[in-house]
C-alpha cells in the first residue's frame, strides 16, 4: 500500500452513511411507494389546476353542489327546463318542442308583440348556453327559434356550495397545504437546529438561559398566539408559515439540543477541540452533519403535523382566506354539508389523509434506514 505514488493515486469513491441509508430506504417497499405517491401528488397539485379547465375561483351558478361525474354537464334532460327557466322573465311563449343536438339547442319562441332581439341575453346569462342568437325569425317578427351552443363542462369531483369545481379547488388547496407544510418545516428546522445545537454545544449558563426562553415560549397557548398575530398583522398567508414555524421550532430545538449534548461528548468532537477548531467549525463540521439523521426523521413527522395544524386553523377560520383555499378549509366546508353532499368532504379528506399517510410511511422508512444501530 505504502508503495503507491502520492500523486498517481486516484481517489476511490467511498460509500457514505447516506448512501447506505438510501440503499436501505430503497429496499423498503412502503417508503418507496409513498415517496412515488408524494411526488405524483406534488406534481398533480402544481400542474393539475392548469389542466382542469376551471379556475379555482370560477363560480358556476348553474351547477351548485353537483355530484362528481365523468360525463359532462349539462345533462340532456336538464337543458329544456333550464332554457325555460332562463326565458321565464323574457315574457315570451316557449314552444313545446325544444330540440337538442350536436351541442346546439333550438328553442322556438313566440310572443304577442314583436320579439325583442335582446331576449337572447337571458339565455346567455347562465353557465349552460353561450352564443345565443335568433334564427328563423317569422315575417311578423312574432315567432322565432333561439339557437344557442351548449357549454359542455366536466366536474370530476363535482362542485362546492358556491358552484366552483372541486377538483381544481382540491389541487389548489394541496398546493397551499403542502407549501405551508414545507415552508413552516424549513423555518422550524433552520431556527430549531441553529438554536438547539448552539445551546447544547455552548452548555453551562448559555444553555440554561436559552432553554428557559424555550420553556417560556412553550407556555404560550398556540391559538392565543395565532389570534394575536392575526389581530396585529391581519390574515396573511405568509404569516401562517411564521406562526406555525415559530411554534414548531421549539420541539426541534429540544430534540437537537439533546442530540448535541450526547454528540459533544463523543471523541471526535473532543479530537476537533484538541486540534484547536473553533466553536463554529465544530458545530458546522461535526455536530450538525451528525444531527441530520434525527432532524430528517423529525422533518417527515413535522410536515404532516404542520399540514394538520394549518387545516385546524383554517377550520377555525384563522387560516387562508377565500377564494384561496387549503385542504383544511375544504374539509371544513364539506363537513358543514356532510348530509346533503358527502363528496364535498370525501375528496379533500382523501387527498389530505393519503398525503399524511405517505409522509408518515416515508418518516418510518427513513428512521429505519438511518438507524445507526442497524450497522
Amino acid at each position: 500500500m505504502a508503495t503507491m505514488k502520492t500523486t498517481a493515486a486516484a481517489p476511490v469513491r467511498g460509500r457514505s452513511l447516506w448512501d447506505d441509508a438510501l440503499i436501505r430506504l430503497k429496499r423498503n417497499r412502503a417508503a418507496t411507494l409513498s415517496l412515488g405517491f408524494l411526488v405524483a401528488m406534488a406534481l398533480a397539485c402544481i400542474i393539475g389546476p392548469l389542466l382542469t379547465g376551471h379556475g379555482y375561483d370560477q363560480v358556476y351558478r348553474s351547477y351548485v353542489k353537483v355530484g362528481p361525474s365523468l360525463t359532462p354537464y349539462p345533462r340532456a334532460e336538464t337543458v329544456a327546463p333550464a332554457a325555460r327557466r332562463a326565458l321565464r322573465r323574457a315574457r315570451v311563449e316557449v314552444g313545446e318542442d325544444i330540440v337538442i343536438g350536436d351541442g346546439i339547442v333550438r328553442i322556438p319562441v313566440s310572443s304577442e308583440g314583436e320579439l325583442d332581439q335582446r331576449i337572447v341575453r337571458y339565455i346567455d346569462r347562465g353557465d349552460i348556453f353561450s352564443g345565443a342568437r335568433l334564427e328563423d325569425l317569422a315575417a311578423d317578427g312574432r315567432s322565432a327559434v333561439i339557437v344557442a351552443d351548449i357549454e359542455q363542462l366536466t366536474f370530476l369531483f363535482g362542485t362546492d356550495a358556491t358552484g366552483r369545481d372541486l377538483l381544481t379547488r382540491t389541487l389548489i388547496a394541496g398546493r397551499i397545504s403542502m407549501t405551508i407544510g414545507l415552508l413552516a418545516t424549513v423555518v422550524a428546522i433552520v431556527i430549531g437546529v441553529t438554536y438547539g445545537s448552539l445551546s447544547g454545544y455552548l452548555g453551562g449558563r448559555a444553555d440554561l438561559l436559552m432553554m428557559r426562553i424555550v420553556d417560556v415560549l412553550y407556555s404560550l397557548p398556540f391559538i392565543f398566539f395565532v389570534i394575536l398575530l392575526v389581530v396585529f398583522f391581519g390574515r396573511n398567508f405568509v404569516l401562517m408559515f411564521i406562526a406555525v414555524g415559530a411554534v414548531e421550532w421549539l420541539d426541534m430545538a429540544r430534540i437537537v439540543r439533546g442530540q448535541t449534548l450526547t454528540l459533544k461528548r463523543q471523541e471526535f468532537v473532543q479530537a476537533a477541540e484538541a486540534l484547536g477548531v473553533e466553536n463554529i467549525g465544530i458545530l458546522r463540521r461535526h455536530i450538525i452533519p451528525n444531527l441530520t439523521g434525527p432532524v430528517v426523521i423529525y422533518m417527515t413527522l413535522l410536515v404532516p403535523k404542520v399540514i394538520l395544524l394549518e387545516s385546524f386553523l383554517s377550520f377555525l377560520g384563522l387560516g387562508v382566506q377565500e377564494p384561496m383555499t387549503s385542504w383544511g378549509v375544504l374539509i371544513s366546508e364539506g363537513a358543514r354539508d356532510i348530509e346533503g353532499n358527502p363528496t364535498m368532504l370525501l375528496f379533500p379528506a382523501l387527498f389530505l389523509t393519503s398525503t399524511l399517510f405517505a409522509l408518515n410511511f416515508i418518516g418510518d422508512g427513513l428512521r429505519d434506514a438511518l438507524d445507526p444501530k442497524d450497522r
Binding site: M4, T6, G14, R15, E267, G276, R285
Partner: protein, 546 residues
C-alpha cells in the same frame, strides 16, 4: 487444571458440527463462519482464540440461537446428543439460559439498571427453576458468596450502578450459574476489566469449574489468558478453524503460521534512551484536577479530586508512560496537560507557561500538541471522509492552503501511516479498527506536532494490530523526534514504548522512574500487583538499556 484434560475422551456435552453462519448485508451475503467443529466435555475449558472478525463470537451466538435478524446458521449443534439448532423458541429456552448459559464482555450494560441484584438473580430461578421467592433469595445469596462478592448480604440489595465493573461481572457469572448449567460460554468476559480485576475473575472461573465441574467455552483474543485457564485451544481465522489442540502443544509447537503470529503478537523491544541534554518539552508541576459534583439544589457541591499533585517532565524525543487502572485519573491528567481541562499547578510547554491558558493563547500551540484517543470508532466523525478528517487541522492552522494542496498533504500523511491514499474519499466505517487508529494518528501527524498525548491508543485493538500500531508510533517518533505521553493500562505496550513510567492510583502517583527499573524492581506493592496480574512474558532476549 491439567487433571481436567483427562476428561477429553468423555462424551462431549456440547458438540458443534460443521457450523456455517451467513449474514445478508447490503453487499450481498457474507460468510462469517464456514464449517466449524468444536466440542467441549464436562469439566473442560475450551478457548476459542482469534482476532476480531474471525467469527469466534458468531460461532457461539449461532449455537445459542442469538444471531441478529440478517444472520442464518446451518450445521448441527448437539447438546447431549440433541440438535438444538433451529429448535422452536420455547423448546430452545429449556436448554438456553438453563443448561447452557452465557456471559458477555460488557458488564456495564448486561445488567438492567432499574432492578436490584436480588431481583435480577431471582427472576430466572423463579421462571426457569420453579423455585419459590424465599428459596430463590436464599440461593441468590449463596451464589453471590460463591462468586466471591464482598459483603454479599449488603450487595444483594444493591443496584448495578453501585457495583464496580468486576463486581458486576461476578454478578453476571452468578446469574449464569443460577440454574446449575452444564455449559458456560464466556465471550471475552474480562476484556473490559482492569488487569487486577481480570486476574481475579479468571481465578474465580477456574475455581468454580473445579468445584462444580461445568464445561466452559472461553472466547478471547488474549493468548495470555488462554495459557492460564484453557485445557484445549481452538484457533479461528476468517470463520474457519486453523488449528486446534491441547493448550501446551499449541503454545509450544504452533503448527499454523497464523497461530505463530498470534503468539508473537506481544509488542517487543524497547526504546533507546534519549540524552538528558535534550530540551524539556512538557513540564508539569503539582498538577491537580478536581470536579465539582453537585449534590442538589442550594447545597455546596462536593469536590472530587481526579488528579492530585502530579509532577512530570518529558524531554524531546522521550516517551512518558502513564500506567494505572480505570479511574486512576491518567486520562484526566493527559487532558489537563493539553489544557483541555482546567487544572491547578503549573504546566510549561517548551518553556512557555500555559497553565489554564485561554483559547486564543492555545490555538497556535494546538498544532504542536496533539491527542490520540482510545476508541478508533468514536474518535472519527462518521460523516466526514478520511481526507476531510485528516486535513481538518490544516483548515485551522494553515487556512491559506488551497484544496489541492490539502489533498496532497492528506495523501502524504496517509502514506506515512501506511494507508493507501486512494482511500481518502472513503468514510471511517469502511475501515477496520487498526486502520481507523492509523487515520487518527495521521490526523495528528499532518500538523507535524512536537508532543502527542496517546490515550490508550492500542487498547481497543487486537494484539497483532496493536503490535503494528506500536511499530508505527515508534517509527514516527524516530523520524520526527516526537515526544509522547503514552497513557495505557496495558503494561506490555508501555514497556515496549516508554522511557519513563508513572504509575497512578486514585489520582496520585504511587511510583515513577525509568521503565526498566519499574518493571524489574517495582517498589510499591500496587505496582507489583499490576505487573503480576498482567502476566508479562519475561524480558527474554531483551537488551535492557543500551
Amino acid at each position: 487444571m491439567t487433571a481436567m484434560t483427562d476428561a477429553v475422551g468423555v462424551e462431549p456435552v456440547l458438540d458443534i458440527q460443521n457450523l456455517r453462519v451467513t449474514f445478508q448485508t447490503n453487499d450481498g451475503p457474507v460468510a462469517a463462519v464456514r464449517g466449524v467443529d468444536i466440542s467441549v466435555s464436562k469439566g473442560e475449558t475450551v478457548a476459542i482464540v482469534g482476532e476480531s472478525g474471525s467469527g469466534k463470537s458468531q460461532t457461539m451466538m449461532a449455537a445459542m440461537g442469538l444471531l441478529s435478524d440478517n444472520g442464518r446458521a446451518e450445521g448441527r449443534v448437539l447438546y447431549r446428543g440433541e440438535d438444538i439448532l433451529g429448535l422452536p423458541l420455547k423448546r430452545l429456552n429449556t436448554v438456553r439460559g438453563a443448561r447452557i448459559t452465557m456471559i458477555f464482555q460488557e458488564p456495564m450494560t448486561s445488567l438492567d439498571p432499574l432492578y436490584s441484584i436480588e431481583r435480577q438473580l431471582c427472576e430466572p430461578m423463579i421462571e426457569h427453576g420453579g423455585l419459590g421467592r424465599k428459596a430463590a433469595a436464599a440461593r441468590a445469596l449463596d451464589l453471590l458468596k460463591l462468586v466471591g462478592i464482598p459483603a454479599p448480604e449488603d450487595k444483594i440489595k444493591a443496584y448495578p450502578y453501585e457495583l464496580s465493573g468486576g463486581q458486576r461481572q461476578r454478578v453476571m457469572i452468578a446469574m449464569a450459574l443460577a440454574n446449575d448449567p452444564d455449559v458456560l460460554i464466556a465471550d471475552e468476559p474480562t476484556t473490559a476489566l482492569d488487569v487486577t480485576t481480570q486476574a481475579q475473575i479468571l481465578e474465580l472461573l477456574a475455581d468454580l469449574q473445579k468445584r462444580i465441574g461445568i464445561a466452559v467455552v472461553f472466547i478471547t483474543h488474549d493468548l495470555g489468558i488462554v495459557r492460564r485457564i484453557a485445557d484445549r485451544v481452538v484457533v479461528m481465522k476468517d470463520g474457519e478453524v486453523v488449528e486446534a489442540g491441547q493448550t501446551a502443544k499449541i503454545f509450544d509447537h504452533p503448527a499454523h503460521p497464523y497461530t505463530r503470529m498470534l503468539l508473537d503478537a506481544e509488542p517487543e523491544g524497547e526504546k533507546p534512551p534519549v540524552g538528558e541534554d535534550k530540551p524539556i518539552v512538557i513540564d508539569g508541576q503539582k498538577v491537580g484536577v478536581s470536579f465539582a459534583i453537585p449534590r442538589g439544589f442550594m447545597k455546596q457541591p462536593v469536590l472530587f479530586h481526579a488528579v492530585e499533585d502530579v509532577s512530570l517532565v518529558v524531554r524531546e524525543g522521550q516517551t512518558l508512560g502513564i500506567v494505572g487502572e480505570s479511574g486512576s485519573g491518567k486520562s484526566t491528567l493527559g487532558r489537563a496537560l493539553l489544557q483541555l481541562l482546567p487544572h491547578s499547578g503549573r504546566v510549561h510547554f517548551d518553556g512557555q507557561d500555559i497553565s489554564n491558558a485561554g483559547k486564543q493563547v492555545m490555538r497556535p500551540l494546538r498544532r504542536q500538541m496533539q491527542l490520540v484517543f482510545q476508541d478508533p470508532f468514536g474518535s472519527l466523525s462518521p460523516r466526514m471522509t478520511v481526507g476531510q478528517v485528516v486535513t481538518e487541522g490544516l483548515l485551522v492552522h494553515e487556512p491559506g492552503l488551497s484544496a489541492g494542496e490539502r489533498d496532497r498533504r492528506a495523501c502524504q500523511v496517509l502514506e506515512e501511516v501506511s494507508l493507501d491514499p486512494a482511500m481518502r474519499n472513503r468514510y471511517p466505517h469502511e475501515f477496520s479498527g487498526g486502520q481507523r487508529q492509523r487515520i487518527a494518528i495521521a490526523r495528528t501527524m499532518v500538523l507535524k506536532p512536537r508532543l502527542v498525548v496517546l490515550d490508550e491508543p492500542t487498547s481497543a485493538l487486537d494484539r497483532t494490530v496493536q503490535k503494528q500500531i506500536v511499530e508505527l508510533l515508534r517509527g514516527l517518533q524516530a523520524e520526527h523526534r516526537l515526544t509522547y505521553v503514552f497513557i495505557s493500562h496495558d503494561l506490555a505496550v508501555v514497556r515496549a514504548l516508554a522511557d519513563t513510567v508513572v504509575v497512578m492510583k486514585t489520582g496520585k502517583v504511587v511510583e515513577a522512574g525509568p521503565t526498566a527499573a519499574i518493571f524489574e524492581a517495582p517498589r510499591d506493592p500496587y505496582t507489583r500487583d499490576l505487573i503480576a496480574a498482567a502476566a508479562l512474558e519475561p524480558m527474554h532476549g531483551r537488551v535492557v538499556g543500551a
